[in-house]
Amino acid sequence: MKTVVRIFLLGVLLLAVPAFAEDATPQVVIDKFAYAPTALTVAAGTKVTWVNKDDTPHTVVENNKKFRSAALDTGDSYSYTFTEPGTYHYFCTFHPKMVGTVTVTAKN
């Protein structure tokens, strides 16, 4: 009986993991006037999502405006797909002391 359950669970995991990996986009949470994580590393082609959990609006703006969100109110999110490897510095145009980095590595 135990073995059956184990095999069943393994099957669930095997099925679940690829599906999870496809859906998951790395998330940066904006909370208490900070991006968390502040530095994120992803492979080229990855979509990154920022979610604002503060009761103050924030933005996500690349230093050279390669990408730029609208004002994100509480609960709003913004996504950007990084296609080119490199280091992307971004900040909040409401609170320029808030800064973050996304490092994009070459596709595996």
């Binding site: 006037f33 009761d55 103050t56 933005t59 609208a70 004002a71 800064v99």
Partner: protein, 318 residues
């Protein structure tokens, strides 16, 4: 209850030194940094001024954040309306109104529309500068400028004269650089130098901008990186009043002839630096919100040589 923050007096010699320009039958004098008009008689002597007849009175409102609807104030349109009603009920109607930015919360067209409806009923001119909440549209301030930018220079700065006072509107919400406080920028400072070069040192100057032009809390971005360069240009004037918003509470500082004031919001309070880990809306008991919001009057005190700044709370009885 109102709290008069600071009275400025000026001694007789300074007042005489500041005596300004005799025009066609009117003599303007500066009393306490505010000019007063005297009719000239045929011999060119100044006639006695009718008591209170030339008192100049204007109002500052700030940070209405139309569109904000969180716990700290679920109805910012209502509190802005209360501020407008308070101004309309003033015994002496102001000659003009300054709005020192953050008219809207998220730079959305419908938020600008609502603000314009509430602020549209004044008979006197309302002069605006944007806050950083007004310049987050795709055009980075285009919506604000379409509505309020007529006749402005650069990213929206301008100056004008009223009752002998030189007013300067500065923009410090578009010079954001990552990791630092905001700035005015070289172009605007150059314009300011040019603009002021045509103004005599005895002319009172009122400078208004959204973010404080002195550093209140560097880590919160409550300051302007290159404000000192603007102040260097203003140093030679006998009376300079700097009016800002952004911090949603009253702070003041005097440096030589330059007096700095930040104003209460009409939307919601924010914590004082050092009392909270970060800025942002401060929720107070709903029945006390009016104690934290307000409008500011700037006027002459009739019969004395004083310019007085009075901050009143929305909860004050008129």
């Amino acid at each position: 209850m109102t709290d008069t923050l600071k009275d400025f007096s000026i001694d007789r010699r300074s007042a005489l030194k500041c005596m300004a320009w005799a025009g066609t039958g009117v003599l303007w004098t500066l009393v306490g940094g505010v000019p007063r008009a005297f009719a000239l008689d045929d011999a060119g002597a100044a006639a006695a001024m009718a008591s209170g007849s030339s008192a100049f009175h204007f109002v500052q409102i700030s940070d209405s954040h139309i569109g904000f609807n969180k716990l700290a104030n679920p109805d910012t349109a209502k509190t802005l309306t209360q501020a407008v009603e308070k101004i309309k009920a003033m015994a002496v109607q102001p000659s003009l109104i300054l709005h020192t930015g953050d008219i809207t919360h998220l730079s959305k067209p419908e938020q600008f529309d609502t603000a314009a409806q509430i602020l549209g009923g004044f008979s006197m001119p309302v002069h605006y500068v944007p806050g950083e909440h007004d310049t987050q549209d795709e055009g980075e301030g285009k919506l604000f400028l379409e509505r309020y930018g007529k006749g402005t220079k650069g990213t929206g700065w301008y100056s004008f004269d009223d009752h002998g006072v030189h007013f300067v509107a500065l923009i410090n919400v578009l010079g954001f650089k990552p990791g630092s406080m905001t700035s005015l920028g070289a172009d605007q400072l150059k314009w300011l130098a040019d603009d002021l070069s045509a103004v005599s040192s005895s002319t009172p100057v009122v400078v208004f901008a959204h973010i404080p032009l002195w550093t209140i809390a560097e880590s919160w971005g409550w300051g302007t990186e290159d404000a000192a360069q603007a102040m260097a240009l203003l140093k030679r004037f006998g009376s300079v009043t700097v009016l800002n918003g952004h911090v949603h509470q009253v702070f003041q500082k005097v440096e030589g002839n330059i007096s700095f004031y930040t104003a209460r919001a009409t939307a919601y309070p924010q914590p004082a630096p050092g009392t909270a880990p970060e800025p942002g809306p401060l929720t107070v008991p709903a029945d006390q919100l009016g104690d934290y919001l307000g409008v500011r009057s700037i006027d002459t005190v009739t019969g004395t040589s004083k310019l007085s700044i009075t901050d009143s709370k929305l909860s004050d009885k008129v």
